[in-house]
Symmetry: C2
Subunit: 244 residues, 2 copies
DNA sequence: CGAAAACTGTTTATGCCGCATACTGTTTCG
DNA sequence: CGAAACAGTATGCGGCATAAACAGTTTTCG
């Protein structure tokens, strides 16, 4: 097979090599002043403190006192850099084997640790939005969850389904939590309440729920609520088809 | 209260007026050649066919044969335009009252119709990513779901929680479906399989699941699977606290 | 009735962004 | 030593949202 044929293929291959640590050092030429790791690290710092939108090639280069284009010696493009940011931030798979209790507790632990990641790095949600080719660490997290599900007795297809369900829930909760930071619950209630005062008749159930206090507190433990429903549902599924 | 104080407030107010149809026609000056509705409509068309990223002020204006800046006579900014796109696309709330069966079937119907929206307009998922101030139609969909939940016997706080759970699931499934269009299941399997061939020992559960066929078919009914788990969980919750 | 006010759409310009290309200078191997 | 391979720079392109000043049109009011 041709090593580097067209642009897209070459970039994808380079990106994958970077992700999986398959870097062969060139022998000639001056030594690099930077490294992919340092670049990725500062990019993550910027994203953590100023949001993903603030991560631009110029911004990163400026943090090093370098020109923008110098970064392209280390990284094929921004997409690949973001992929590196993601896999670096995600880090090693969680250790679920040592979690006391059954598969429910282990999945819950997976979800909690995953949520913690999203809360600590709010940009991660946005960065992992689309379908991507997963990095080694992301695959590790997937494997960790699948192992628990397999152990619980779910067949492969349902392992897949259940993982997507769990992952989706965590992402959903993360979105609510991190989004609420930007637009506070109070502002939201105020804005919606303002409109409800004028068009309340169109939204009777919403008005009733708000009067009943459903939107005054910031929903104490949204992760746990959904987790409970979800695990209950999975458990029922398991108990109804015990033969597998 | 001061009508239009600072910039942000004024823009927000204008945007809200546009969303809620509170537009008072000016009497003086030439008649507009465009309208917010037409602008929003073509923006939606562009997003449907070319994706949200293709929706730029210049692109929309070009579709009309107008200059970019002319759009700003109709819409305060791009954020407000996107808000209009969202609420227009969402459309009227679903009619759940006429759905046969109990609250489970009604919530399921809500989820299916919601998913259909996301599938038909893949950009909608991305556009509704962050926390926003909801438009009238979005509030309508919320109200429709809350009405069902209230009717089922959930207290206000749990109505909120359950809604977020359901909505999150739909969004999650939509993300998987629409994302899979871009990066097909085959490509994904191929890319992951390639890496697993080299590092398979790091991902035993994943290897096992793939061998077991968990990733060969594109997960027939991911919405229904999660829906079932989720509704089972909610039902259990309801049955365990029957007093409310 | 005529001028001022209000409104529409255009022109021009600013400051971001990712990135292609062409370049200078340095290091190391044959 | 000289050439190849590499490091980082300089410049510029096309695209983005949008601010500001402008010209033309229509209505309202003195």
């Amino acid at each position: 097979m041709a090593a580097k044929s067209d642009k897209g293929g070459g970039d994808l291959a380079r990106g994958m090599d970077l992700l999986w640590g398959t870097t062969d050092r060139p022998s000639r030429g001056p030594k690099p002043s930077m490294s992919v790791e340092r670049i990725t690290g500062t990019a993550i710092e910027i994203a953590d403190t100023e949001g993903l939108a603030a991560v631009s090639m110029q911004r990163i280069a400026a943090a090093f006192g370098f020109t923008t284009m110098s970064l392209y010696r280390y990284v094929p493009g921004k997409a690949e850099l973001v992929a590196l940011m993601i896999d670096t931030t995600i880090g090693d798979r969680p250790d679920l084997e040592s979690v006391p209790g059954g598969w429910r507790e282990r999945l819950a632990e997976w979800a909690r640790q995953c949520l913690r990641l999203f809360v600590r790095h709010p940009w991660l949600l946005e960065a992992t939005g689309g379908h991507r080719i997963m990095g080694p660490n992301e695959l590790g997290w997937l494997d960790a969850a699948l192992a628990v599900l397999a152990d619980a007795g779910f067949p492969p297809v349902e392992q897949h389904d259940a993982f997507l369900l769990l992952n989706g829930h965590v992402r959903s909760v993360a979105q609510n939590i991190t989004g609420a930071d930007r637009l506070g619950v109070d502002e939201w209630s105020a804005a919606v309440g303002e409109r409800l005062r004028r068009h309340g008749d169109r939204y009777p159930a919403l008005v009733a729920a708000m009067r009943g206090g459903g939107y005054s507190q910031p929903a104490a433990e949204p992760l746990e609520f959904g987790l409970r429903c979800l695990l209950d549902g999975l458990e029922k599924l398991l108990s109804e088809a015990p033969g597998r």
